[in-house]
């Protein structure tokens, strides 16, 4: 049972990366909102970049999730 417990703990520790991802995604969208609010004309230029940044940051969360899955099931 110690191995199972250690696996559960390890999977939990692996997703601590979500802390940074949460900060990052919040930061991206707050900057996006600020820039669009300051210059609404720039929306079409800024929006795809923001979405790209969101997707790249979200990938970090998924890497952590993948590690958690590997610990739990592999």
């Amino acid at each position: 049972m110690e191995v199972a417990a250690a696996k559960a703990l390890g999977a939990g520790i692996a997703v601590i990366a979500l802390f940074g991802v949460g900060l990052g995604i919040g930061n991206i969208f707050s900057s996006l909102i600020t820039s669009v609010a300051r210059n609404p004309a720039a929306r079409d230029v800024v929006f795809p970049i923001g979405i790209l940044g969101f997707a790249l940051t979200e990938a970090v969360a998924l890497f952590a999730l993948l590690i958690a899955f590997l610990i739990l099931f592999a």
Partner: protein, 251 residues
């Protein structure tokens, strides 16, 4: 704990099953390959049938085909520049293949072929080889200058060159894992919430109203997954364009 025998089985949806009986089994023709062929057929049908009228004012199918075409063309020309037009067919093919794979996977009982690392890594390695070959064929041996930016002090070379080489070589890995992990995580999440609905619903009168909560979350998640399905195809295409930009212009 009363429903101990019913566990959350979120990963069995990714198992490959041979199709077409013994003939398909002998060549390992799985449902993944089947959906790839279906996607190719649908994409070809969309562009062959959709573009048949060649109307000035497009109908619905023609408008869809033209929108997708112009979307990717805008992506390529804005990222790589006008000389990137010659790589447009490559990026467009990748984008449509991944988009249809992700979108077909959202249909009930369908299989998402992009949820397998074998598929995404093959695509990513192809992108990696194409960008490297393009870079070497355009720049020759100047391509290796990519790993050491001009103007950097020479004593930094032992640090910069390994970092640049590693970051260059890790491109196919991050490109493939991003797509694969997004698709797997999305489908696992849907399956987990769907299992919550079944487990709560099996509790009887108390469970059924409670089961509405994960059900409504699942409805919202399906919408979110459609967004992710498009977004990941877009991200794969735009990163391919960025790598092509590096290959064509070297920084």
């Amino acid at each position: 704990m009363a429903v101990e025998e019913k566990t959350i089985d979120a990963l069995s949806q990714f198992e490959l099953v041979p199709l077409l009986g013994p003939i398909g089994g002998s060549v390992n023709f799985t449902q993944s390959n089947g959906f790839m062929l279906l996607a190719i057929g649908l994409i070809s049908a969309l562009f062959v049938i959709g573009m048949k009228p060649r109307a000035v004012v497009p109908g619905r199918l023609q408008a869809l085909a033209e929108t997708l075409y112009e979307f990717v063309l805008g992506l390529v020309t804005s990222q790589v520049g006008e000389e990137g037009r010659r790589y447009f067919p490559f990026v467009f093919t990748l984008f449509m293949f991944i988009l249809f794979g992700n979108m077909l996977g959202m249909l009930p009982y369908a299989f998402t072929y992009t949820s397998h690392i074998a598929t995404t890594l093959t695509l990513a390695i192809m992108v990696f080889l194409v960008t490297t070959i393009v870079a070497i064929s355009i720049h020759g041996r100047h391509f290796f200058g990519y790993f050491f930016p001009e103007g950097a002090p020479l004593w930094l070379a032992p640090i910069i060159i390994p970092v640049e080489v590693v970051s260059y070589l890790s491109r196919p890995i991050s490109l493939s894992i991003r797509l694969f992990a997004n698709m797997v995580a999305g489908h696992v999440m849907l399956k987990v919430f769907a299992t919550f609905v079944v487990l709560l619903g099996s509790l009887g009168v108390v469970g059924v109203p409670l089961a509405l909560l994960p059900l409504s979350i699942n409805v919202a998640l399906v919408g979110f997954e459609f967004l992710v399905a498009f977004l990941q195809a877009y991200v794969f295409a735009i990163l391919t364009c960025i790598y092509l930009h590096d290959a064509v212009h070297l920084h």
